[in-house]
């Protein structure tokens, strides 16, 4: 039977779901078949197998190639502006009245979010594999913009699939993609959101796989995507770890990140997995309520199943049909989540909780008015929960929020939601 409408957790204590005793989380995942514990794997049509195998081989070759790493590092430094600062939000810390709050400023990257860390890496791989075209899916449009940017930088043609509903609510990003020469194809099927954009990109790839690379934007999809995207995004956590050691002289006490597909959280958490003194907290989109269809929190309310090529927590009905989900933020409006998050949940290394639409909206103002930072609605979910958690901590403790994206893209949607003039 489905557990979709099961009772929500009353606290942010880690939830046990599969019941069985799971060993502590390892960083030595996935295995050769793409499994993070029981999660992950590869559930795709046979047509895509050869391309995925080719990607595994090329990715491992690139990882061990100092020239590849040097080229990527140079781009991340001079084109993206890395390292991104770790900023002590003193006014916010004072207002919240608890732990010292630090912001890992991924919003200051070129293109305004963490997504560029991954697209540059995958675009370099596209060139190494001698593929001549790139496709991508996007929800909030941040991955679409980052893909369009990487493709413009390298001179690759780029097609971005985007749900028609998301095209509406993230117009500035649609315009940016087009300015950089990408073709944005609105997807009218299903719920017209991120999930449908992934379906459509997969369908394109089924026919174009021989010359096209699909730059998946999150830690989802068939092996090796969850691993590869995590690795490219791990620059966030690696930098953050070093910055904490140099600024604080020690590791932080807690780290909070929002989770849709889960790429910024995976990149932030992964380098800290073995640092068990650091609490890691992932925040899903709690939407309007706990019932199926009102939120996008598969780790909080869903159960393990297959979606978009891997085995992970997902929102499904009792037949295995994907359920509709809702979030105020296009980037979190997704019924699935990366398999490594499912692994971290069941191994209890990461605590997962969810944040409602209204709480997220409130925290937008909190950071805007007190720190002068406009935050992406996705990131606001992490912000809202982080403020609640910080309150329960002492003033000499430190909490880091992964500030995954900037909020300019959401200005028009915020105005609409608040009935204000844009």
């Amino acid at each position: 039977m489905s557990t979709i409408d099961s009772t929500p957790p009353s606290t942010i204590e880690p939830q046990t779901s599969s019941g069985a005793q799971t060993p502590p989380a390892s960083m030595q995942v996935p295995d050769a078949s793409g499994r993070f514990g029981v999660f992950g794997g590869r559930y795709v049509p046979e047509t895509l197998t050869r391309a995925l195998e080719e990607l595994v081989v090329e990715y491992h070759r690139a990882r061990n190639d100092p020239d590849f790493q040097a080229e990527l590092d140079e781009l991340l430094h001079r084109f993206v502006g890395r390292p991104s600062p770790l900023y002590h939000a003193k006014r916010l810390s004072g207002l919240v009245g608890g732990a010292q709050i630090w912001l890992k400023r991924e919003d200051l990257n070129h293109t305004g979010a963490h997504k560029i860390n991954n697209t540059l890496g995958q675009a370099l791989l596209t060139l190494r594999m001698k593929k001549t075209r790139v496709i991508a899916e996007t929800g909030a449009g941040q991955h679409g913009v980052a893909s369009a940017t990487a493709c413009a930088h390298f001179g690759l043609p780029c097609v971005v699939y985007m749900g028609a509903e998301d095209v509406r609510r993230q117009k500035p990003n649609v315009f940016s993609m087009r300015l950089m020469g990408a073709e944005v194809r609105p997807v009218e099927s299903g719920s017209k959101t991120l999930r449908d954009a992934v379906n459509e990109a997969m369908r394109d790839w089924m026919s174009s796989v021989e010359h096209t690379h699909y730059i998946i934007g999150s830690v989802i999809g068939p092996h090796p995507f969850p691993q590869m995207v995590r690795d490219f995004q791990s620059v966030i956590g690696k930098e953050c770890r070093e910055q904490c050691l140099s600024s604080l002289g020690r590791l932080p006490d807690a780290i909070v990140a929002c989770v849709g597909g889960g790429s910024n959280a995976a990149g932030m958490f992964y380098p800290f997995i073995h640092d068990t003194s650091v609490r890691l907290i992932g925040v899903e989109a709690g939407g309007r309520g706990q019932h199926s269809g009102e939120h996008a929190s598969p780790l909080t309310y869903g159960s393990p199943g297959v979606l978009h090529g891997s085995y992970s927590y997902v929102m499904q009905d009792d037949d295995g049909q994907t359920s509709d989900v809702h979030s105020i933020s296009a980037g979190l409006d997704y019924p699935g989540v990366g398999p490594e998050h499912s692994y971290w949940k069941d191994s209890k290394r990461v605590e997962y909780t969810s944040c409602r639409d209204d709480e997220a909206l409130e925290s937008f103002d909190l950071l805007a008015r007190n720190e002068g930072i406009l935050t992406a609605l996705e990131t606001c979910h992490a912000l809202a929960k982080a403020a609640q958690i910080a309150k329960t901590m002492s003033r000499d403790e430190h909490l880091v929020i992964c500030l995954s994206g900037r909020g300019d893209k959401d200005a028009a949607e915020l105005a609409r939601l608040r009935g204000q003039q844009w």
Partner: protein, 266 residues
């Protein structure tokens, strides 16, 4: 031995090829799907492939995807498919094979799914998103229940892998004719006939070709090298107006199937 194994033995003995139409379950309702299967058998089809609608089908083109959306929009549930097939099974003598995404099978539990499908009257299952690497459990459960697991080989499958897939399959091997999603094509790729021929010399399993077949010319080209042909989108397209007029939809599908069957006979 399943009804599918039996079918191919009989066809082989009489030098004939299988013709296998695909029909979406529950588009627009199961009673109509049952009528379609009855008509397909009357026309002389050898077997029917019943597509189980799935919310996120990545291997399917727009025609089949739209049929899934219509069926699910009418609140089709898995149990209704099993119930209708079981109720009408005695009317049909041809084997039925289920086309089901692994998301659905996983949710039921593979063994429960196989048992329910078999009890309803299916003889095998095609799981388009279950790769040979992930198929061991399904494969052994299918063997245990005397149920066929039909796996797919595509134009991007390297030769040695194709042999491995053939070894892990039963009933027949589904040879996907094109690199891409389901849907009618005006042209089938060069080299298809040779690739099927190569594989046919190396496996004892019957080979059926599907994806993109929509005209009598396709049938004439591919039937000599294969043991059977599968036609999906072209038939589903004929049936898409069933909600407005069932009779018209059945007539359109019958015309198409008759012309394809005639091409198969010649």
């Amino acid at each position: 031995m399943t009804a599918i194994d039996d079918l191919f033995q009989r066809l082989k003995a009489s030098g004939k090829k299988a013709f296998m139409p695909f029909v979406t379950a529950g588009d627009p309702n199961m009673a109509f799907t049952s009528k379609v299967i009855t008509r397909l058998e009357q026309l002389g089809c050898s077997m029917a492939e019943v597509g189980f609608p799935y919310s996120d089908p990545i291997a399917d083109g727009p025609v089949i995807q739209a049929s899934y959306t219509r069926a699910l929009g009418n609140k089709l549930k898995l149990q209704q498919i099993f119930d209708q097939v079981q109720q009408d099974r005695s009317k049909w003598s041809m084997p039925l094979v289920a086309m089901v995404s692994y998301a659905i099978i996983h949710r039921q539990g593979p063994e429960s799914f196989i048992a329910a499908a078999k009890q309803a009257g299916f003889s095998g299952v095609i799981v388009p998103d279950l790769l040979v690497e992930e198929s061991q459990m399904m494969s052994s459960l299918c063997r245990k229940h005397d149920f066929n697991l039909i796996q797919l080989v595509t134009p991007t499958t390297p030769p040695q892998r194709a042999l491995r897939i053939a070894e892990a399959s039963s009933g027949f091997l589904y040879f996907v004719s094109v690199t891409g999603i389901t849907g009618e094509r005006t042209q089938l790729p060069d080299g298809l006939v040779d690739r099927v021929g190569w594989l046919k010399e190396r496996t004892s399993l019957p080979i059926c070709i599907g994806f993109g077949i929509s005209t009598p010319e396709h049938v004439k080209l591919l039937s000599p090298v294969s043991d059977g042909l599968i036609v999906g989108s072209a038939i589903v397209r004929c049936l898409e107006g069933a909600a407005a007029s069932e009779e018209q939809a059945l007539q359109n599908a019958s015309q198409l199937v008759s012309s394809l069957l005639a091409a198969l006979e010649t």
